[in-house]
Amino acid sequence: MDLKTLIPQKLKEEFPSTEFEVSEYRDELTIKFEKKIIVDVCSFLKSDVDLEFVWCSDITAIDWATRKNRFTVVYNIFSMKHNFRLRLKCDVDESDCSIDTVSSVWQAANWQERETYDMYGIKFKNHPDLRRMYMPEEFEYHPLRKDFPLMGIPGSLPLPKK
């Protein structure tokens, strides 16, 4: 069976009470669902013998600025068995700016989530080492948020301590 129909079908069987929003653009499959089952979905996709999404390419987020659910966390994962790329998306609202970590599923997610936290301020719950990836720890802002100005904020980056 075609993977593009098989994956949503398998997910529906495994998680009957959840709604999966499946879309396709330029031959890439995207599945969107609520954030509380992210770890279960990821470990299912990784461990299922027919799918085996063992490769976590990339984790990032999108800031929609004015939308109700301001952020979307995006997982680009890859199945080496089928050479198939899949994108998972979960909406995160600014009032509860957190999502469970998937670093227990893929170790690669560790730094990718740290980077997302640094750039967007989304907290990954139960993350083993949630520190900033690029910016210094004292930095208060999250640079890739749309309300952070392109020129930066003067004085926000302190000089090193003497």
Binding site: N110, W111, Y134
Partner: protein
């Protein structure tokens, strides 16, 4: 230790201490110490900073610190048009800028639904493979230099210089090329450039054999890296180890073969793999990959078709300057593309190529206007450095330098 406590961020220090809790900072008679390596250390290939916890000379903990070269390229991408961003991709992996150009324009083309003409695709393959050879030559040379074989560095850089000469003829620049355009390449490949590439490939293999001979017969070099920094196949996949490093662990995974892009499915090449996953395997693999790339370049030069190098989509592809100055339509299109951008339809794509360091991907989200709403770079070096703690723990401090050299990180790419 007091000095380190003062200089280092408390959270970083805490992360370092968390790897073992029975350790106290005050106990001076313990053999453990914390060593700061980098960011100005010449052997860390740029501005990578490592905090190492040592028991005698053996490493028991390692925390890499990134961000010393963070220039915010993802933020900048959101504030400029798709065309304007091409020169910035040069500065990601500055050892193989051509491969980054190719990766970025392929992603934009996928987003906008453009396909470049066949000749342009062949030229792109040619420059991507030459970039891979150039990158591997620098990796081999600096790796050998890190472990004490200085001569090889001069030999491999001499070869790389010839590739830079090819690029010089091709696009007028040696390092920051910005040669590709959305829908094609900037200008057609001149016969001189192709002839130079052909000449380079013909004389390259004997030189590579010489380099190999020089290193393989060097007992100090081999014994220094044999069995050092080994990682298992499962761990490597789980940690996102990519490119040549992953193939050295025994995973036959190459995006050129597994998810073919450009015209790689018309090429005949092997994917070299090793099973040991140590520094020696990574060194052998880079030599083998240079050979395979040379094979691909030969085939490209034989098969390269004639024809246009830019797609004929006036509203998306910048016209040639000659036409802009002489034709009204082209002038209008040039004005519209430069001022308002190419406006790809609303949507999002992720496109990855097998760059010289591994899976180099771009994730682009378009809202239908001239600038990308979101642009994410999936950089291979970032993911390779992530595995560094796993590789160095248990080894001697001098091995750290060898391991960093063997995984070949480029900080411009890891820090974005």
């Amino acid at each position: 230790m007091k000095q380190l406590e003062k200089e280092t961020d408390p959270k970083i220090l805490q992360a370092l201490l968390n790897s073992r809790n029975d350790y106290t900072l005050d106990d001076a008679l313990e053999n453990e110490m914390v060593l700061n390596m980098g960011p100005q250390h010449p052997a860390t290939h740029g501005v990578l900073r490592l905090l190492l916890r040592l028991d005698g000379e053996r490493i028991i903990g390692c925390v890499p610190e990134l961000g010393y070269l963070h220039r915010g390229y993802e933020k900048m991408a959101e504030n400029m048009s798709y065309y304007e961003y091409i020169p910035h991709t040069d500065r990601l992996d500055y050892i193989s800028p051509m491969a980054n150009n190719v990766a970025y324009v392929l992603a934009v083309e996928k987003l906008a639904g453009i396909e470049a003409p066949k000749r342009a695709q062949y030229i792109r393959m040619l420059i991507a493979e030459l970039a891979r050879i150039a990158s591997h030559l620098v990796a081999l040379g600096s790796f050998a230099m890190d472990v004490g074989a200085l001569t090889v560095f001069l030999w491999t850089l001499r070869e790389r210089e010839k590739i830079l000469d090819v690029w010089d003829i091709l696009c007028g620049a040696r390092f920051t090329n910005s040669y590709t355009r959305i829908g094609g390449v900037a200008n057609d490949a001149q016969p001189e450039a192709l002839a130079k590439a052909k000449w380079f490939i013909e004389q390259f293999e004997p030189y590579l054999a010489e380099v190999e001979q020089l290193l393989n017969t060097n007992r100090i070099f081999i014994e220094r890296i044999d069995g050092v920094g080994a990682i298992s196949k499962e761990d490597a996949i789980d940690l996102g180890f990519c490119g040549p490093n992953l193939r050295a662990c025994g995973v036959e995974f190459d995006l050129r073969r597994n998810v073919p892009y450009l015209c790689y499915n018309e090429m005949d090449f092997n994917i070299p793999t090793y099973t040991e996953g140590d520094c020696l395997a990574r060194y052998f693999l880079r030599i083998d990959e240079c050979r395979e790339s040379a094979k691909i370049v030969k085939q490209i030069l034989d098969k390269i078709p004639q024809g246009p190098v830019q797609a004929n989509i006036p509203k998306k592809v910048l016209p040639h300057k000659d036409e802009v100055y002489s034709k009204m339509e082209e002038l209008i299109h040039d004005f519209m593309i430069v001022n308002f951008g190419i406006n790809p339809p609303v949507g999002e794509i992720y496109h990855a190529i097998e760059g010289s360091k591994g899976e180099l991907g771009f994730y682009l989200v378009s809202k239908g206007d001239g600038k990308p709403w979101k642009s994410k770079i999936r950089s291979p070096s970032f993911n390779n450095i992530q595995s560094l703690p796993k590789l160095v723990i248990g080894h001697l401090i001098s091995d750290v330098v060898a391991i960093i050299g063997s995984i070949d990180p480029i900080m411009g790419e890891a820090d974005k």
